[in-house]
Symmetry: C2
Subunit: 676 residues, 2 copies
């Protein structure tokens, strides 16, 4: 009979499936930051009853890019290095299940890879069966002979490795011992030697091993996970609002921002602003003389995306500003707003990058019937798309070359998704430390897809989640499996576009509540300046625009005006730096309370350390009190909690404890309950 | 600037993701039977705000195997045929979501494929914007010119199709109307013409369309989904248990099996049985003279897997038996037990297909310290594996050539999974009507993997799920997404290996309850003969083996013995044939009751018709009563339910109604509540 042509892969006995974490079957990487653990699980099983062994392999791809993993191994403590791969034994999650797990830490920025290798282990199967038969009093002489053959095969594999000669000799001695002249029962117990098992594991016969597909991890620096952002318009740093503030004047604000404990200073676009259809104060369609226009209407005779608005100064002024920030421990984030004013140099130099109408004009932005005539969108799918995309990458690289490592990206969801996937990948290939924040306030599918395509962080719906049920539902969703490995939320409490009614109506207690929520729910959060001053004047009732918005005019802020909450901002940022629990997002868990205005949740550092319990009164107008549950506390157990905001200690007893918040006195607790 | 080498695929604006149904990202097909609907959903979206259009394509692959789908289309009612693909427009599941759906029916056995094509529709985007501007009173003269250009482009695409000439002419007329001399406002309303929209859809510009990967559906005949099985040992059909019954004698039993309403008669292996280490009565390790041995110890001097046990008769006798069954509307299922007795011809002819020990003997089956010396497992991974696999395919083909279209596969989980994937695929390529039932009582991951690998049906844990909570939990799991598209349960109420304690202790009421549960929870179910006689004698207390099991001896059954439940079996099978609700599994939904011994659930045919409510008293010993909820009934609504078991009608009112079961009178209701 002619043997049919059956693919060799079908002969593999072990199945590896349902690997997690995973994003779309490996189409996209999962995300981590340096030092974070990656806990891998998978269903692994073989036909029949033989013993299965599985190992997790991982590597930093710059170590040995795309080298084929090889069989056999060299000892190095509990992990072996195989062609750049480190191996960790996997263990069963529960006896009788087929779910296996192992964990590794990612120790450097950039691409990491992991995969699973699993095989039916003939030695362990043999040993299990031998011991069962010996315990039953059966004659195992033949079994011992079989075991000796398996050990000799392993010695043969050891022999082929330069450093394995000594191991081979030891293995052969074990093999001899299995079939020497001592009584079989005695020899059977020699089969359970730990030394033998360890060497047999090292030189396991893996020729029939199954290998999973490789999964990728993109590892960012810590700032992708943890940071407090402060947004300001440097043009408002001048002595009065009659002219643009300069980078030199804005630099004078940096010490107070550093004192507030922020990590990142984010600037709206700093480029020349178009004059055609320039917007006036409060979004008027007519600009008065002296009105500076929206910084997002980029480009004028003074230049485009690589130029500095003359009112702010020069490129040298900008670089001095950035250096001063760095000296104070602050990092500058710039805005990537890939659109043009009608006066942008590209309109003249590259008309092919824009959409044209039958009358020869360029199509301006619109959301019919609304028109945005001061903005020309770029046509990401134009015939000359590759050159356009390269030009935008060049813009990004221009600012990277000037020391920028964080970009806040304006409306990425209105540009081809593939563009971002390409641009971020190209940047990361040379600069793995660059971070991109997606400003996409759109449907969840699009926000998640942009995160998958490579964005390091994402704006969220946080500003519109103000009730307890809204907050619990939304943040439970964001910490669930489907989101956690791809999307890192950055919780802005306000933005130049969003002054929520809760803040408009709630006064300083509302600002205190939202600050603490943002800073403790999110490991990354931000405020737009004025928040710490409780600025709450809206342009129109029912809207979310600020009155006299800095988007359209210069402003002069009084940083010490009555009612500000700068001490609280500073305190909260200090607590965030001191407590690792607040530097991670995924450990967030909500707790029960018996008052719908009181929200409670805890966080820990990875592996459960440094537990903090935050309790916030969401009602800015009234005293609220009630009970909060701390699960896992014994019913009569007495324990101490300490409020990190004011260093007051409370003695609590059992799972449910009483809290009371008077908006005049306090809006929240951030309680250290480490040890519980 | 040199344009970089960016893959064209990144330019696509539309994303298609999260396609369902799906099994492991397309690694395995989903399963359906002829006539069943396939409801496809996916997340589909583009950047920005343009209008997205999506279509579902499906085809029977024998129509146009692996032909590349092409652009454009030919009208054929609501669906278009594109290179063998039928197209159905997809619709949004909910406004504002990104989830789209469409449905198709599979109309023939074999492979079907489906995929999604989606694109940003320039015409629909233009029309939406035009109408918004016109409604706002804006001048739309330029917009109308743009629309005319789009319509002319479509005319160009129509022109390229032989049958599209007339459409092209009509489109050009529409284009002219959009830019003629009538006032723009009038022309704008012409843009919303349904005729124009339909033609623009037919000739939509799809050059930038995104295409999903192709997903596969394996479509079986109806019997894969719906059938009642009856298992019997033909050798027990003789006049007395001193000798083997013959196929001729077994044929005499077929009319009564047909009268009971069964669809499939399953026979344990019918091959010659080994004599070495033959098992005696009640699994004794010593066979007495005349003991027939286990039919699963296949092979003797009389032949192997393609021979007939001489006691049963000849191959001609078997074929006569099969024909008689067919005449009565019964289909014969054979057992594929791929293992050998030590006397099987292959042991001599192909020793290389077995595992050998250092002393030259062949390794028998064992589960240390237990030994099964009457069985030699085949070594599916031996050096000559391809020839062995082909030989086993040849065995299967041998019985297919003798008219067999259903196989019950013995212990498939102890053979390489890839073997089954290959064998079932090879059989289906020539005989798509062949069904395979997996007898794998093992861990859920393995049972599910075998189903994914191709098995048409699977045994389940049903025999071990006897309480209400066990049944609800297990069947809720089996109807969930993760299982429903791959694993079709076949609920055997007993097997020659499993006489559950519930049956041993519960008397006829227990048999009545389990029969109705099996036949109404499962669209496929089965009993092993004796069940209808309430045979309940166990070999040993605490065990599940039958006393005097037919596995090891001839039996003579009295089919009319007191206490039998043959009328109920016949009635239930008749109801199953009359009511489509019981012919489907996935519509199963459990209902609340206020008594933990009373279980209630309903089923419908697809699309919700023919609703049946089954209520079973799980307590075989005591009267139980309580209330059952029928969700969706108005609180004062009065409606009639009819028990299909005894044709008694009840008048019910509101959601909760009273039921009472006395084991002496009734154990269950099968209520028709169609219309509610």
């Amino acid at each position: 009979m002619d043997a049919p042509d059956i693919p060799e892969a079908l002969r593999k006995r072990v199945v590896i499936e349902r690997i997690a974490p995973d994003v779309d079957n490996g189409r996209f990487p999962i995300k981590r930051t340096v030092g974070e653990p990656v806990t891998v699980t998978a269903d692994i099983f073989a036909d029949g009853h033989d013993v299965v062994v599985a190992v997790l392999r991982h590597r930093h791809t710059s170590h040995a890019e795309h080298a084929e993993p090889k069989n056999a191994a060299v000892s190095a403590g509990s992990a072996w290095d195989v062609s750049g791969f480190h191996e960790t034994p996997m263990t069963l999650v529960a006896p009788g299940s087929d779910e296996w797990t192992a964990e590794f830490d990612v120790d450097a920025v950039g691409w990491h890879e992991y995969m699973i290798v699993a095989w039916v282990d003939r030695f362990l199967t043999w040993r299990r069966d031998l011991l069962a038969k010996a315990a039953d009093g059966q004659d195992v002489a033949l079994e011992l002979l079989e075991g000796a053959l398996l050990v000799r095969e392993a010695a043969g594999r050891a022999e082929q490795i330069g450093s394995g000669r000594e191991d081979a000799r030891l293995l052969l001695a074990h093999a001899d011992a299995l079939c020497d002249a001592t009584p079989p029962a005695q020899r059977a117990s020699a089969a359970s030697s730990d030394t033998l098992a360890a060497m047999m594991a090292m030189y396991a016969g893996r020729s029939a091993a199954a290998e999973s597909e490789i999964r990728r991890v993109w590892v960012d620096r810590e700032r992708a996970r943890f940071g407090a952002w402060y947004e300001l318009f440097p043009r408002s740093a001048g002595p009065d609002p009659s002219r643009s503030g300069t980078f030199g004047e804005a630099a004078a604000l940096l010490p107070q921002i550093a004192d507030l404990g922020f990590d990142v200073v984010y600037l709206p676009p700093i480029h020349p602003i178009g004059t055609s259809f320039r917007k006036g104060r409060n979004n008027s369609t007519v600009a008065e003389p002296g009105d500076p226009g929206s910084p997002w209407a980029i480009g004028s005779a003074a230049g485009g995306h690589t130029a500095i608005d003359p009112g702010l100064g020069t490129l040298d002024d900008f670089e001095a500003f950035r250096r001063e920030a760095g000296r104070l421990g602050l990092e500058i984030a710039l805005d990537l707003a890939f659109q043009c004013s009608p006066d942008h140099p590209w309109v003249r130099e590259h008309p092919e990058w824009f959409r044209h109408r039958p009358d020869g004009t360029i199509k301006y932005a619109e959301n019919p019937p609304k028109k945005y005539q001061d903005i020309y969108p770029l046509d990401f799918g134009c015939d000359d798309w590759r050159a356009l995309w390269q030009a935008l990458l060049d813009v990004t690289q221009f600012w990277i070359d000037r020391g920028i490592r964080i970009f806040r990206v304006d409306n990425p969801h209105t540009k081809t998704f593939g563009f971002w996937e390409w641009l971020i990948d190209r940047v990361h290939a040379r600069h793995p430390d660059v971070l991109f924040l997606s400003e996409a306030f759109t449907r969840p599918t699009l926000m998640r897809y942009l995160a998958k395509a490579g964005f390091s962080q994402s704006y969220t719906y946080f500003t519109w989640r103000n009730t307890k049920s809204e907050l619990v539902e939304y943040f439970t969703e964001l910490t669930a499996d489907r989101w956690r490995d791809v999307l890192r939320p950055n919780l802005f409490a306000n933005t130049p576009d969003i002054l929520h009614a809760y803040l408009q109506r709630g006064g300083p207690p509302a600002f205190r509540a939202r600050l603490i929520l943002a800073a403790t729910l999110g490991a990354s959060y931000g405020i737009y300046n004025g928040f710490e001053l409780c600025e709450a004047r809206a342009l129109a009732p029912g809207g979310e625009e600020y009155a006299d918005s800095e988007k359209y005019q210069f402003r002069k802020w009084d940083w010490d005006r009555p009612g500000h909450i700068r001490e609280l901002v500073s305190r909260v940022n200090t607590i965030r730096h001191q407590h690792r629990a607040l530097q991670f997002f995924h450990t967030l868990r909500f707790h029960e309370t018996d008052n719908s205005e009181i929200i409670a949740y805890s966080k820990t550092a990875p592996h459960g350390t440094d537990r903090l319990l935050t309790i916030v009164n969401l009602d800015p107008h009234h005293m609220q009190h009630g009970h909060v549950q701390v699960p896992g506390i014994g019913s009569d157990e007495i324990f101490t909690v300490r409020d990190l905001l004011d260093d007051v200690e409370y003695e609590w007893r059992g799972e449910w404890n009483y809290v009371r918040f008077d908006p005049d006195i306090r809006q929240a607790h951030i309680l250290s309950i480490d040890g519980h």
